[in-house]
């Protein structure tokens, strides 16, 4: 009850809330040599109040494909569930391996189908395609994709993360180097 009261207070005293910033959370991904790393924070809050330190922001679509989502938590959860559903349907109807570009296209058209009343959720698809080449694509709330990036950051501290990426990124890093660099960025 106390927590609810506190949240109600903090809500009533704030101005226009940006739905992408209410719950917080960021996600970063980077390409390396035949590998990708994706990392996210685990904070789930309501404005300044911390509700949980165990938020799930990265969805594992299969052993070679990951999707990170940040933004309004209810939309993040919905997008992750619906994407997982679409991917399972795809796998059942087609025997072929799910390429990251297909998953990105599914996500993109899914987000755009809500053009009139969008999901407040930015997304990141990172994976390896069938020839082991790394794939990385981030989408905004309407599903617009930034193709072929070497690194991508989404969420509340995206601009800070991008700055760190620019400074620390090197092409063709090994998995260990990559994990090292990404953890430096996210900390």
């Amino acid at each position: 009850v106390f927590l609810v009261l506190l949240t109600a207070l903090s809500l009533s005293t704030s101005q226009q809330q940006n739905p992408l910033e209410v719950n917080g959370g960021s996600c970063i991904a980077m390409k390396g040599k035949n590998c990708i790393v994706i990392a996210s924070d685990k904070r789930f809050g309501q404005q300044n109040t911390l509700i949980s330190s165990n938020a799930k922001r990265v969805l594992k679509l299969n052993s070679r494909l990951l999707c990170g989502c940040t933004g309004l938590t209810s939309d993040v959860q919905t997008v992750m569930q619906d994407l997982s559903h679409a991917v399972k349907k795809f796998k059942m109807s087609q025997k072929s391996h799910l390429e990251p570009s297909i998953a990105a296209s599914i996500l993109s058209s899914f987000l755009y189908s809500k053009r009139g009343s969008p999901y407040f959720c930015e997304t990141l698809i990172a994976g390896l395609d069938s020839s082991n080449k790394p794939f990385l694509k981030s989408h905004d709330v309407l599903g617009a994709g930034e193709g072929d990036q070497n690194f991508a950051a989404i969420g509340t501290s995206a601009s800070t993360l991008y700055g760190l990426c620019e400074a620390l990124y090197k092409p063709e890093m090994s998995p260990d180097e990559l994990a090292d660099v990404v953890s430096k960025c996210i900390f």
Partner: protein
């Protein structure tokens, strides 16, 4: 679909458990001109007779083989106008697929979509089944594939098949000449020989149509000049 007065399905079961409308549709297919297809190790070829009833018909724009996705094509035996409706619907479905997935619809899902449409028309109000069997040739990540789709909506994958008037003879001809590792050029020659076997009158590059898809994944309808070359090699 259909008038309110015909909101019931016209395709109903007989006492013996058969859907007679579908049987009759298959009869219509059997009356149609022969079409055949061969799935080679590195491509697929489909062929059909394009015999026009009189010399007065201008055959330049008549095409029985149709491109449906950049990597797959259809040919039919049976009622031409029914076929055109199916091609149009299949093309639209393939394009919707591309809109979502940003890749060319693979052959399996394409065949399932078309078969689904054909099945709908056996169970909807005020419509009759399509009077065509289709041969679908395509090349995707699973390799070269050849499918047959019947008026009932049943579909089968084939290594080589024939439909229409001369299908029984053509199939036994194909059985003798088919081998697992047959290459596309051989398959084209075999297809032409098989067509010639049941052809009434003289077969030339103007009264047959050939569609081919190879490892480049581009379905093409061959020009009469190309057919002429293959005919010269085969015969």
């Amino acid at each position: 679909m259909g008038d309110s007065a015909y909101s019931f399905s016209l395709t109903t079961f007989s006492r013996t458990g058969k859907l007679l409308q579908i049987e009759y549709a298959l009869n219509a297919v059997q009356q149609g001109k022969t079409s055949l297809g061969i799935c080679a190790s590195n491509g697929v070829v489909i062929a059909t007779e394009k015999k026009l009833p009189t010399v007065l018909i201008d055959s330049k724009d008549v095409s029985k083989i149709s491109l449906v996705t950049p990597s797959s094509g259809f040919v039919y035996s049976g009622l031409g106008p029914d076929y055109r409706v199916l091609v149009r619907k299949a093309r639209k479905k393939a394009q919707s697929y591309f809109n979502i997935y940003q890749e060319i619809q693979p052959v399996g899902p394409l065949v399932r979509d078309v078969a689904g449409v054909m099945q709908e028309f056996t169970q909807s109000g005020g419509v009759r089944p399509f009077g065509v069997s289709l041969l679908v040739a395509g090349f995707d990540d699973q390799g070269p594939q050849l499918f047959q789709v019947d008026p009932s909506g049943a579909y089968f994958g084939w290594k080589a098949s024939a439909i229409g008037k001369n299908s029984l003879n053509a199939k036994s001809f194909l059985e003798k000449r088919y081998s697992e590792d047959i290459e596309l050029d051989d398959a084209i020659h075999t297809a032409l020989l098989t067509m010639k076997d049941g052809f009434e009158g003289e077969m030339n590059e103007f009264n047959v149509e050939l569609g081919v898809v190879s490892e480049d994944r581009r379905f093409r309808i061959l020009t009469p000049a190309e057919i002429r070359d293959y005919l010269d090699e085969a015969l």
